[in-house]
């Protein structure tokens, strides 16, 4: 059974990039365009790993992390935040909220898969 990755990003380009890299690596990918949709999809379909952008309309990445960690059914789901921010405060804030790890954009597909492997069985 292939692992399922939920990617949450408002940028179509980024979703397609993730999709390409992940599908190539053998993952099943579900996409959501913002935090609100991401949490809805996670609750409806579940996922083995969540990859989320930080800056998004409606609900940002921090909201996603809080939402997942507060949901008894999914609080153990690993979350990787995806961001171009080198700004340490963003990363720290994501970690404090409960992010499992992070991926710095632009990502290298190998690094992406490495990151997922480090957080998902």
């Amino acid at each position: 059974m292939n692992k399922t990755v939920l990617t949450i990003d408002d940028s179509r380009t980024m979703r397609e990039m993730l999709n390409m890299a992940l599908v190539q690596a053998g993952y099943r990918v579900i996409q959501a365009v913002d935090g609100v949709e991401g949490l809805e999809v996670l609750r409806a379909q579940g996922a083995d790993v969540v990859i989320t952008d930080i800056n998004m309309p409606r609900m940002d990445g921090f909201g996603v992390i809080e939402g997942v960690r507060a949901d008894p059914a999914h609080r153990a789901t690993p979350i990787l935040v995806l961001t171009t921010e080198s700004d340490a405060t963003k990363k720290e804030r994501a970690r404090a909220a409960g992010a499992t790890g992070w991926i710095v954009k632009p990502f290298n597909p190998t690094k992406l898969v490495d990151a997922i492997r480090r957080v998902a069985a």
């Binding site: 940028s11 397609e16 053998g26 809080e66 960690r69 790890g101 957080v119």
Partner: protein, 800 residues
């Protein structure tokens, strides 16, 4: 297409959308909207452009977007406040960003000077100290791009073995670990092994990190020996699922560097105690572990004590569990829990294999996770966060875009085509039924009527699929007006109305040029300079209004300015000088105003007065006529001018004049037709014994016998027995088409002849009439051009 290229195409497509969002946000900000969500949306747009650009290594774009984004971020964090001046700079920055995107797309280059100037202006919004802090000072553009995000353009390699990725072979890992540990050093190089001590804190598990996975990744770097330290595990009844008790010592052999090792712990290093060192470089790890344990362990003091006193005294534990007062405890239910622990002591904990360790670690984190008390979690939920989420989703529902799907244009066109056939088929069927003499009230006739209504509805709905709001064209206009205003030193406010007016996609694509030209004309020449306006008692800022509306089955685009209006004496003077009108011609104001559309009116020496930059209004008029449209101007001296152009809603349907020539039914596009008349024999002259010209009032125009021009007939039609239709080509050339009769005016569905047959000179397309006959649609331009080419000198000599 190469998947990478296809994503790049997506990126540029998305950039268009982002730039549009950005500009409308900035325009709102210019109008005084300083709502944080508006600013955020603009920031996000620029940020996404930068993010995508990073992925494709578009350095120039990244660099500029970064500076732009940094300034927006200052606004987001309230360090920079929105003023008119700031909004203007940001708007100009958005134009430069759009240029960068366009340059990246076409692999072209941008105006370096403009970029540098813009960067300086952006930097100017932030005070120097802060700019230095942000790395934006000086010529810091380069530094900012390099240091700040260390973007490395990447190339996605899709050829990497996919299998390597998700499924790491745990079995192989176990097998490796099962080998005698002392065999390893011989196999490895002389480099001393790495000794890693790893003691997770409870926080690490709360973030869904798992030791087992970290160890598994470490095992990919080389051969590992893992020792788990269970001494901190308290008696089972004191075990808390929220705590972390285990720690590990890992001996790693192989060529891995320290950073390789640390990278594995990247996500967890802040939530654990971690040491990485070469074997033999420090004291025995266990001692330091013990020290760390005493000093900093998260486990409660009593747990540590208990562990020290009796580490994993299983019998005692079991006895305590079974002897516990709780009735459930006596049942077999709790048994599964102790099992993994039970296995543990059997193997010597000090030499436990990786498999066992992983099992233990997984069990620990699994317990941790499963026991993660749902009720507690709910209780802990931050009510503020809930409210935020609710607001967010409520707001989201309100602003959510209407759901859309993307469909290939080809498919829509196929559908439109099929519906066109349906319409024709339906018309033919109706006609046949009618001809067969069936009563109007018969079931068949009534059914046909319903079918006709339905068919029309389907046709309208299908046409509506291709219809799009003119917004996509309108959105590009604020920038244009800004640039023209900057260039000519005027203050111009563009007001837009009816952006959501819909029109066929093909029409939209061709609206852009005429609108651009009219707006440029209005801003550049229609409006006065600020000084003149002030002197004239008007506001310093000129207003240009761009509007779209539906009127009588057509779309009307209006461009109105509140400027000086047409200078009629001057226009008249020019027209006389150019020989366009007689000196004593009597013209109404309207007629004078519309002189500006005459070919040859605008030439270089009047360009700065009435027309645009090198393109005359006659060109605009022609391009609108080519779309089956009309344009006119109304003007009031001192108050301004208004250009109105009206266009058909679609190019798939044409208003035509149905004519017959040599027993053929033909259609002439109505937009080309000026007038029709019955020629008198004395007005027609033969030139060179063959080519006819006809005198219409004061001018001679070629008279084209359509039947002969298209090869339907060899003998010319006597002019007096036919009808002459005066037409004007897109190029402004005139000619009279001689046909036998005019049948009437009709809307026809255009069918491409080239797609179904081949191009025929003089024929633009075909259509199918209600009676099922195919009728050719005349290509007036081709007919006129041919006749002119054949007799250029003649016409000249004959003219006036």
């Amino acid at each position: 297409m190469d998947p990478f290229e296809s994503i790049k195409a997506t990126f540029f497509q998305e950039c268009d959308e982002l730039l549009t969002d950005m500009e409308s946000g900035l325009l709102a900000m210019e109008a005084g909207d300083d709502d944080s969500e508006t600013i955020n949306a603009v920031f996000r747009a620029v940020h996404s452009v930068k993010g995508g650009a990073g992925a494709f290594g578009l350095e120039e774009l990244i660099r500029f977007a970064h500076i732009f984004e940094t300034v927006l971020d200052e606004m987001r964090s309230d360090r920079l406040h929105l003023t008119d001046e700031v909004a203007k700079v940001l708007l100009r920055a958005s134009d430069v960003l759009a240029d960068h995107v366009a340059a990246a797309r076409s692999a072209g280059s941008v105006d370096e000077g403009r970029t540098l100037g813009m960067i300086a202006d952006l930097q100017g919004l932030i005070d120097q100290e802060r700019a230095a802090e942000l790395g934006l000072d000086g010529d810091g553009a380069d530094d900012a791009a390099d240091e700040d995000f260390g973007f490395v353009p990447i190339v996605l390699s899709l050829d990497e073995p996919a299998a390597e990725a998700p499924e790491v072979d745990l079995a192989a890992l176990m097998a490796a670990a099962a080998e005698p540990a002392d065999a390893a050093p011989q196999a490895a190089t002389a480099t001393p092994a790495w000794l890693v001590t790893f003691r997770p804190k409870a926080e690490m598990y709360a973030k869904a990190n798992e030791t087992a996975l970290v160890l598994r990744e470490l095992a990919r770097l080389g051969e590992v020996e893992v020792v788990v330290d269970t001494t901190a595990v308290p008696p089972l009844d004191q075990l808390s699922a929220e705590q972390a008790y285990l720690s590990w010592t890992i001996r790693l052999l192989g060529p891995a560097t320290e950073s390789d090792v640390r990278e594995v712990f990247e996500f967890v290093e802040d939530d654990c105690e971690l040491t990485v060192r070469r074997e033999g470089e420090a004291e025995a790890p266990s001692a330091s572990l013990q020290a760390a344990d005493d000093a900093e362990s998260d486990a409660s003091a009593s747990a540590v004590e208990a562990a020290a006193a009796a580490p994993l005294d299983l019998d005692a534990l079991l006895a305590r569990v079974q002897g516990a007062p709780s009735p459930e405890a006596a049942t077999p239910a709790p048994e599964p829990a102790p099992e993994p622990v039970q296995d543990a002591p059997k193997a010597d904990p000090a030499n436990m294999g990786v498999a066992g360790l992983i099992a233990l670690a997984e069990q620990a984190s699994l317990d941790h996770v499963q026991a993660a008390a749902p009720p507690k979690a709910e209780a802990k939920t931050d009510p503020k966060a809930d409210a935020r989420a609710e607001r967010a989703s409520a707001g989201g529902t309100a602003t959510a875009a209407t759901p859309t799907i993307r469909v290939d244009l080809d498919r829509v066109d196929r559908l439109i085509n099929a519906v066109g056939e349906l319409v024709i088929q339906q018309a033919m069927l109706s006609q046949r039924v009618f001809e067969s003499g069936l009563a109007r009230s018969s079931d068949v006739a009534l059914g046909l009527e319903d079918l006709e209504l339905l068919t029309r509805e389907i046709q309208d709905s299908v046409m509506a699929i291709r219809a799009q709001p003119v917004k996509s064209v309108f959105q590009r206009m604020p920038r244009l007006v800004r640039e023209v205003a900057d260039m000519v030193g005027k203050k111009v406010r563009l007001v837009m109305d009816g952006e959501n007016t819909e029109v066929d996609k093909t029409v939209i694509e061709r609206l852009s040029d005429p609108i651009t030209h009219m707006l440029r004309n209005a801003s550049d020449h229609g409006l006065e300079t600020p000084e003149e306006r002030e002197a004239g008692g008007k506001g310093v800022e000129g207003v240009v209004r761009l509007a779209a509306l539906h009127r009588g089955g057509r779309i009307v685009i209006e461009v109105q300015d509140d400027g000086r209006g047409i200078n009629r004496p001057r226009v008249r003077g020019i027209a006389v000088t150019k020989g366009l009108i007689a000196e004593d011609a009597v013209l109404s104001d309207d007629e004078i105003d519309n002189l500006i559309f005459l070919p040859g009116f605008s030439t270089a020496d009047v360009v700065s007065d009435i027309s645009g930059r090198g393109v005359g209004m006659d060109v605009v008029k022609r391009s609108i006529q080519a779309l089956g449209g009309r344009i006119s101007i109304t003007s009031e001296p001192g108050k301004g001018s208004k250009f109105s152009m009206s266009l058909p809603l679609t190019l798939a349907v044409l208003d035509g004049m149905v004519v017959s020539a040599a027993d053929q039914t033909l259609v002439a596009p109505l937009s080309n037709i000026v007038e029709s008349l019955t020629p008198r024999a004395e007005d027609v002259h033969l030139v060179g014994g063959r080519d006819a010209v006809i005198r219409i009032r004061d001018t001679f125009v070629p008279l084209i016998d359509v039947g002969m021009a298209l090869g339907f007939r060899d003998e010319p039609l006597p002019p007096a027995s036919g009808v002459a239709v005066l037409v004007e080509s897109e190029g402004g050339g005139k000619a009279a088409l001689l046909v036998e009769a005019i049948q009437g005016q009709r809307q026809v569905v255009i069918k491409s002849l080239e797609a179904n047959y081949q191009h025929i000179h003089g024929v633009a397309a075909a259509t199918i009439l209600g009676d099922g006959r195919v009728a050719l649609i005349l290509d007036v331009d081709a007919l006129v051009t041919t006749s002119r080419r054949k007799a250029p000198r003649i016409e000249k000599r004959m003219a006036v």
